[in-house]
C-alpha cells in the first residue's frame, strides 16, 4: 500500500505532537519509526489507524484520502497498539474467527500458514483458552495468528520489540512482517532500539519534536551505527 502524508499536524492542547509532517512510503516496505520518548511515534500510528484525527493535513492510501469511517480502506489496515486488541473474554479461536469476519477474509485461505504459526509459537494447545488468561507475550503471539488471517496491506505495530515475546515469537514476527511486505504490504512499526530497527527494516524514519528528523535506508543507518560508538544516540536524535 502506498502511503502519503501531506502536512500532517496534530496538537494536544499546547503540545505539538506532529508538525506538518510530509512522508511518502513506498509499498512493499518495512518502516521503522524511531524517536525519543514523546517524539510522536504512537500518535503517528494512531493517526494512520484513524483512532485520532489530524488537526491539519491529509493521509492518502493508494491516492485515496483516509478517514476512519471509510471502512473499505480501514479493512485494508490493521493496528496493533502496545498491548494487542483482543477480546479477552473470548477464546483465541473465536478471536481469530472474529478478526477474519470483521475484515471479510477467510481462514481457509491461510490454513497452512496459520497452522505453522500456531505450532511454532506454542499457541495451538491454547486455542480454546480465553485470551484474558494469557500472558502479554502469549497475547502477542495469539494476535499474530489474527494478523495471519487478516493479511493486512498495512500493518501498524506499536513497539513490537518491547512486546514481552520470547526469541521464537520475535522470529515469527519478523518472518510474518517480511512475508506481508513481500506480498506488497507495508509494515510501519515503532521502536526505540536503533540497532534492531536498522537490522529489521527497509527504511528508518526518526521523529523529533513532531517532525521527521531523519529518513534513511536501513543500510545507511547501519553504517552510521558502525562508524561511531555514539552512533545510536545520534540516529535517535536525528543528528546524522
Amino acid at each position: 500500500m502506498h502511503i502519503e502524508l501531506n502536512d500532517l499536524s496534530k496538537r494536544f492542547g499546547s503540545t505539538v505532537a506532529l508538525d506538518q509532517m510530509n512522508l511518502n512510503v513506498p509499498p512493499s516496505s518495512i518502516i521503522a519509526v524511531l524517536g525519543e520518548n514523546g517524539a510522536g511515534k504512537s500518535t503517528l500510528l494512531s493517526l494512520l489507524a484513524g483512532v485520532l484525527a489530524p488537526d491539519d493535513g491529509l493521509i492518502r492510501y493508494d491516492g485515496q484520502v483516509f478517514s476512519r469511517e471509510k471502512l473499505e480502506l480501514r479493512k485494508r489496515l490493521l493496528f496493533t497498539p502496545d498491548v494487542p486488541l483482543m477480546f479477552l473474554d473470548r477464546s483465541i479461536a473465536t478471536n481469530i474467527a472474529t478478526f477474519a469476519s470483521l475484515y471479510g477474509t477467510s481462514i481457509d485461505d491461510h490454513d497452512l500458514m496459520l497452522t505453522r504459526l500456531l505450532d511454532e509459537t506454542g499457541i495451538a494447545p491454547l486455542l480454546n483458552r480465553g485470551a484474558g488468561s494469557l500472558s502479554r507475550g502469549q497475547l502477542w503471539k495469539a494476535f499474530m495468528a489474527c494478523v495471519t488471517v487478516v493479511n493486512p496491506e498495512l500493518w501498524l505495530v506499536d513497539e513490537p520489540f518491547a512486546s514481552g515475546m520470547d526469541v521464537i515469537g520475535m522470529g515469527v514476527f519478523r518472518r510474518l512482517a517480511r512475508r506481508l511486505a513481500d506480498e506488497g504490504g507495508t509494515i510501519i512499526y515503532t521502536t526505540q532500539m536503533v540497532d534492531l530497527a536498522a537490522g529489521f527494516s527497509d527504511h528508518v524514519c526518526v521523529l523529533r519534536q513532531g517532525r521527521i528528523a531523519l529518513w534513511e535506508t536501513s543500510a545507511r543507518v547501519s553504517e552510521i551505527i558502525a562508524k561511531a560508538p555514539e552512533g545510536q544516540e545520534q540516529v535517535l536524535r536525528g543528528l546524522c
Binding site: 496538537r11 492542547g13 499546547s14 504512537s42 494512531s46 489507524a49 483512532v51 485520532l52 484525527a53 489530524p54 488537526d55 478517514s67 476512519r68 469511517e69 471509510k70 471502512l71 480501514r74 479493512k75 493496528f79 497498539p81 502496545d82 498491548v83 486488541l85 477480546f87 479477552l88 473474554d89 473470548r90 477464546s91 479461536a93 473465536t94 481469530i96 474467527a97 472474529t98 469476519s101 470483521l102 475484515y103 481462514i107 481457509d108 491461510h110 490454513d111 496459520l114 497452522t115 500456531l118 495451538a124 494447545p125 491454547l126 486455542l127 480454546n128 483458552r129 480465553g130 484474558g132 488468561s133
Partner: protein, 570 residues
Amino acid sequence: MARGVLHGALMEASDLTSWPRVKTGLKFIGLEVFIGFLILLLAGLLHDPFRDSAWRDFMLAGVVMVTTRLKIGHLEWHLDNNPTTRVLWHLPVSGHDIGRWVRGTFFCRSLALLPRMTVVAYAWQGFPALSAAWPLVCMTGLLLWLVMLACVMLSRERLGFRLQAAHLWNLALMAWVALLLYAWWLEKKHAGMTELPAWVPAFCGPASWLLPAKWAMHGTWHGISSVLTLLCLGLGSLRWWQFPPRVGAILDQATVDFIPDEETQNEDETPDENELSGSAESLSDTAEQFPPDKTGSVTDHIRLTAAQEASPDHRGWVERLAFALLDDRQRMLVLLLTDHSPGWTIKWRRGALLAALLLSIGALLQKFGAVWISLETLEPWLWIIPLGVVGVHAFPISNSIPAATTLWPLASRGMPFFAGLPVSARDLLGVSTRITIARMAACLLLAAPVLTIECLLLGSSVPASLLTLLAFATAWTSMRPLFIYYRLQQSSRAVRTHLFGLVFCHFLILVLGVSMLPVMIVGVVSSPSILENQPWQSPLCLLITALAARSIFGLFHWRARARKIDWVSQ
C-alpha cells in the same frame, strides 16, 4: 479567531490542562443546582397542608439518606477501585497511611455536598414561605452534613446478628421511593389535593425515626432527637478516628486478590452470576483440550469453536429473535459487544413471573381487601409496580453500546472498545437499533397483557392505554440514534475546528433537540401516568422525533467522516 477562542492563545496562556477541571467543576455545579431544584420541587410537593406532618420529615430525611447511600458507595470505591489506592497498595506504604489518604480524599470530596444539605435544610425550615432564618438554615445544613459523614462511617456497624445499620436505612429508603411515587401519583390524579390518606403520615412517623437525618432536621435542641443526633455524631467521630487503623489492618493482610481485576471494570451490563460461572466453566472445561486429533485441521477447529460460541441456539428466544434481525457481520459485533449470554430471555421470564404474581395479588386485594384498603389507594400500586417490574426486566435500555465505547480492557492509550477495528459508528447504530426493535417487541408482548389486565381491574380504557404504550415504545425505539450519539460523543473528543462550524453544528443539534421535547419530556417522562390520548402520541410528533434523533446522529457521523473526531475514552 476561532482557534484563539477554543484552543488558542487565551487558553494556552492559562494552561490548557485546567480546562477539563473547569469543565468538570461547571458540570458539578450544574448537577448540584439541578438536584437542589429537585429538592425544592419535592418541598413544593409538601406544600402547606402537609408542612407539619411526619410525611415531610420522612421525605427530606430520605433525600439526605439517599446522598448518604451514594457516599457509602464512594468510600468503598476509594478503598477498592481508586487507581491511586491500587498504586499505593503496591508501594511500600502502610495500610494505616492508605486509610488516612482514603479518608482525607473522601472528606475533601464530601465538602462539595454542603450546599445540597443546606438546600435540604432550607426546604425544611423555610420553603415555600421564604421565611427561613438563614443562620439556622446554615447550621442545620452543616449538622445534616456531619450526620451524613457519621452515617457513612457507621454504615457497617452490626446491630445484632447479621443486621447492619445500612440494611435498616435501605428498607426505609425503599419505602421512601415508593411513597414518593405514590404522592406524585396522587398529585397527578387529584390536582389541588390538600391532604394525604391518613395511613401515610401514620407510616411515615415511625419510619422516619430509622433515618438519622430526621433526628438532626431541627437544627436546634429538640429533646430525644438531639440526644440521638449527638449519639450518632459521637459514634461517627469515633469510627472516623479509628478508620485508618481499621482499614490499615485489612489492607496489610490483603492479598493481590483484594485489588480487583481490570477486566471486571467498565462493565455496564453485568450478567447473572450463574451465567458468568457457566461461561467460565465452559471455557475452562475446554481449555488445553486442543488438539484432540492431530490430523484435524486447525482452521476447522477454529471455525467450530467460533461457531459454538456464536451460536444463538443455546440462548433464549429473545436473543434468537434479535439475532434473526442481524446479518453475519452484525452478529459478530453483538458477540463482541455483549456478554457471553446477555440474559434477555431470563430477565423477560423473570419479569413475566413477577408481573403475574403482583397482578394476582392486586386482583385478590381488590376482590377481598376492599374492607381495609380503598381502590384509590390500590390504584397506583397496581399501575406502577407490575409495569415497573416489566420495565426493569424486559425494557431495552442500553443494548451493549456502552460496552463498545468504554475503555479497551488492556490498551494503555485510552482507546474505546471499537476504535481499533473496522467498525463504524453506523455499524453500532445498526446493531443497537435492531436489538432494540427485537427486545421492544418482546417487551410489548409482556407489557400489553399486563396493561390490559390493569385497565380491566381499574376500569380504564384498554385501547387508549395500549395506544399510549405503543406510542411510548415507538418513541423510545426511534430515539435510539440519539442515545448512540450520546455514547459516541462521550468516547470521543472534537479536534480543533472553525468556530463557525462548531457553533452551527451545536445550534442545529439544539434546534433538533428542542423539536424532540414534546415527545421526550411530555411523552417519555409522563406517559406512565397519563392514559388518555395526548398530542405527543400523534404520528407527526413521533415522526419528527425520529427524524430529529436520526439527524443528530447524522451530524455526528458527518463530523466523523470529516475527520474531526478523536476516539479517546474519557
